[in-house]
Subunit: 520 residues, 2 copies
């Protein structure tokens, strides 16, 4: 009877694990694995939320970031926006409950997707300092502001309000989040400073005011563009991107009366003709009730969908930065000799539309000739600072043969040049490799599109480099020619009797013509 | 009033996200990102569970794995064990609810930790084929077996039983899990075949019977050792590894009447003397009620803990494979010229004990001389097949300078040699870089310990290589000497009149002596 006892003994230990407990123990998964990175992640999650909220409310964002050192390794970060504010009732759950948010169930290009980030930052603060996250928010000039201090009950994954006040706040509307946390402040590639700089680069419509923890200074990134980017649209799922299990679930929970209206109503790009064709291919009546389909019939439907030709997803759902805005921002922020940008048309992976944009600056002032290029990666306008080598963007940059465009390019590495590349992947669903959202998974469709955009910029760069090189040699050749022209004119003058000045003038015209006809 | 409307409009979209919905959308995070990997992950999760259950019940494990192709890209995997079985009431939640398990809240060396794996495998099967996971389990020869088919309600993260039966099963006790899933079967480095082979390597006490999908054959890995590894012990948290936020939570939920008894009861390695010292350092009375501590006092306590010298965690909580078992298994499974193994003493990171074991085979039969070594990584006896380059184990192997031990070793890469290295990290809490549990995070303490074990094996290897090289040259020298010895003996014989045979014998003794005195 040993085995019976054992099974029953083991059964006693079985318990439900709350998502808060899970992520408290596994906080490295969310980007809180060490104090340096935790600081960046906390700022990033708050700024991403602010920008998403402002854009959804069609407000030109102005974000104020303050970082203050309280004691050794303990910092307070404060992120304030001029967004629409958050209604009182929602504040506790948005900041004090993991997996709670507005964007998870939508298919739309936004920075936040999962309802995890800001509450995870609060949870990290709570774990390392014992202090609550504090929120001040105001939704209208006619209403007071609400102030909350919130702790997460990790066992229940529910907010516990430790302080609640109604305050006057001179701002018309907006939200301010403050978190105390164990952190370390650094400069360099993966710093808050770099993150904010790159955020300004990919968001020309944002004004950022940044007060770093040390020094008196304040850094301001002014708007390059006083116009919000086009509003991204929420779309229904494309039939090609939906899995069998999801179709079964959709069928069961649908209120549609007939299979045909189900297909028309729940998916994008399904016309009445396409819906009929799917029903026919699946050998199902158009008027059958969706909830009554057997698992086998559902599978037949799934197979039929993938056999019918359906239009690609809508193209105008995304909100690209735009070539022009990329160029203006790059010119403002990086001093170089040559600038170019390229936007690809919208493409699709697994039914999700996505779009690639690339900006390039060559000949960066003061950048060493023998170093790897600077690669700035962005997903839905958010800079990605960690996990560069694991990212599809890096893979694509490495796969392009930059020697074709006149650069040094060692095998399996970035090219070597005084150059900056910015690559932006915008999508209704960015396939990150982890919840910390640092690297994009290697989907072949995405890598291919990035390469095409890079190659376009590369070709333009190579024309510039080629011209510059030729101009350089032409100038050199002409200066040598002109050196001898005077002497030659003297000799020719005494041989022919023509005036020396006239010959000199003719010779110099000749030299210029050679240059003008590009060496012919 | 635009802003008021906006905030209220946005509020309407806020919703709770169930952990099942989250992982259904983000299933690449759990190792189900493509059909090839999904097959491996599903098998791995089921086998890990079986082994954990058998060992907890102190049963020598026998696992039967069957993979069957049902149609193109659709497979059925079946994993059957002789474990203790699962009590009827627990079956639905263990297999039909994410984040439900017995091991999350314990500090103990086990394969599974999170209560995610097997239900995630079922969820993937459900998403891609619409079919339920099926479980057959029996806890005693005197009871019938229970059969269940289960679907996860992803919106609620709760099991839905679609079929339930009481069956006869000739097995005394055990569990069989079957999952239908979209999958692809491959051979090679990241295949199920390789995973099972490496599982046998790190688990000499397990018998594995494997029926691959194609071909008639069955592969059996017999036990190398008929003895279970020592039972790992569950421990209380070590004070150095607990964060401020956790201490606050522990204080609040503790039933201890005094701070001193709280410290004695909730942590490992706290003696009455240490407890008193902590209270004194924190300027807190020993008999104060834990629940009554203010946040500031809790922080004082936290700081005091980290100032007091506390013994390192217990050393006998882990269950290492053992040098001897590693050597026997390596000798049985890999044909080579030289074998060695090294176990490090137990070390600690963040209050968690861990232990490194390394096995090495050199001169693998038929392995090319100019290829990188084979690196087999293990965490708590589980083979890690993906994300090699992101793993602390790989980092440690690269950081060791293998040229010191006579191997070729290009910069920033694995060494080049006909060699296999197995590295096992055993810990009560393995810090994986993702839920898919494929790579170990770069904790300096862990990397350091791995390097020490590798260096130990490296030194032994270099002695072997050195001896072999010398033996080779000696043999060569002797054979040249012996070539001339006969002729020399002839000449000497005619010169001295001593018998030729005698001189030859003397010369050959001389040659051997030279060898014996190692070339002197």
């Amino acid at each position: 009877m040993v085995e019976k006892v054992k099974a029953e003994e083991l059964a006693l230990k079985q318990r439900e694990i709350s998502i808060s407990e899970f992520f408290a123990k596994n906080r490295h998964l969310l980007g809180f694995d060490n104090p340096t990175r935790a600081l960046l992640t906390a700022v990033k999650e708050a700024v991403d939320n602010s920008l998403d909220a402002c854009e959804e409310a069609r407000i030109l964002p102005e974000i104020i970031i303050r970082i203050e050192e309280l004691s050794e390794e303990r910092f307070k970060v404060s992120i304030e926006d001029n967004g629409p504010g958050i209604v009182k009732e929602q504040i506790p759950r948005i900041f004090g409950k993991l997996l709670y948010g507005s964007r998870f169930h939508t298919i739309k290009m936004t920075r936040g997707q999962q309802g995890l980030g800001i509450s995870a930052a609060g949870l990290y603060g709570q774990l390392t300092t014992g202090k609550p996250i504090s929120i001040l928010s105001k939704i209208s000039s006619k209403r007071p502001a609400h102030f909350y201090e919130i702790i997460i009950d990790t066992q229940k994954n529910e907010p516990v309000i430790t302080k609640e006040e109604v305050l006057e706040w001179k701002k018309e509307h907006g939200t301010r989040v403050e978190i105390q946390l164990l952190a370390r402040y650094i400069k360099g590639d993966r710093s808050v400073d770099e993150y904010l700089k790159q955020t300004a680069l990919a968001n020309p419509h944002v004004r950022i005011i940044y007060k770093p923890p040390f020094g008196d200074g304040e850094i301001t990134y002014e708007r390059v563009k006083d116009l919000l980017p086009p509003e991204p649209k929420e779309i229904k799922p494309h039939p090609y991107g939906v899995e069998l299990g999801n179709i079964i679930k959709m069928l069961q929970s649908s209120r549609a009366r007939s299979l045909k209206s189900f297909l028309l109503g729940e998916f994008s790009r399904v016309s009445p003709r396409v819906a009929s064709e799917i029903c026919q291919k699946a050998a199902l009546a158009e008027n059958i009730s969706p909830a009554r389909l057997s698992p086998e019939q559902a599978e037949g439907l799934f197979n039929a969908i993938n056999q019918v030709k359906i239009r690609a997803p809508e193209k105008d759902t995304l909100s690209p930065i735009g070539e022009e805005a990329i160029l203006s921002t790059l010119k403002k922020m990086v001093k170089g000799d040559f600038y170019t940008a390229s936007s690809r048309p919208v493409a699709v992976y697994r039914g999700n539309p996505f779009q690639i944009e690339v900006g390039l600056v060559y000949g960066i002032d003061g950048y060493p000739q023998d170093e790897f290029i600077i690669l700035c990666r962005f997903a839905n306008r958010v800079p990605l600072l960690y996990q560069q080598s694991a990212c599809a963007i890096t893979r694509a940059v490495i796969q392009v043969d930059w020697r074709n465009y006149g650069l040094q390019h060692p095998k399996d590495s970035l090219p070597i040049a005084p150059m900056l590349l910015m690559v932006h992947v915008g999508s209704v669903w960015v396939p990150f490799t982890s919840e910390a959202k640092e690297a994009i998974a290697h989907y072949p469709e995405i890598i291919k599109e990035i390469k095409l955009a890079l190659q376009e910029c590369g070709r333009r760069l190579s024309i510039f480099l080629h011209r510059r090189e030729r101009a350089f040699y032409e100038a050199k050749r002409r200066s040598i020619f002109e050196l001898y022209a005077r002497e030659l004119a003297s000799s020719l003058s005494s041989l022919t009797g023509v005036k020396k000045q006239r010959i000199e003038k003719q010779l110099s015209l000749l030299a210029r013509a050679r240059t003008r006809f590009k060496g012919l």
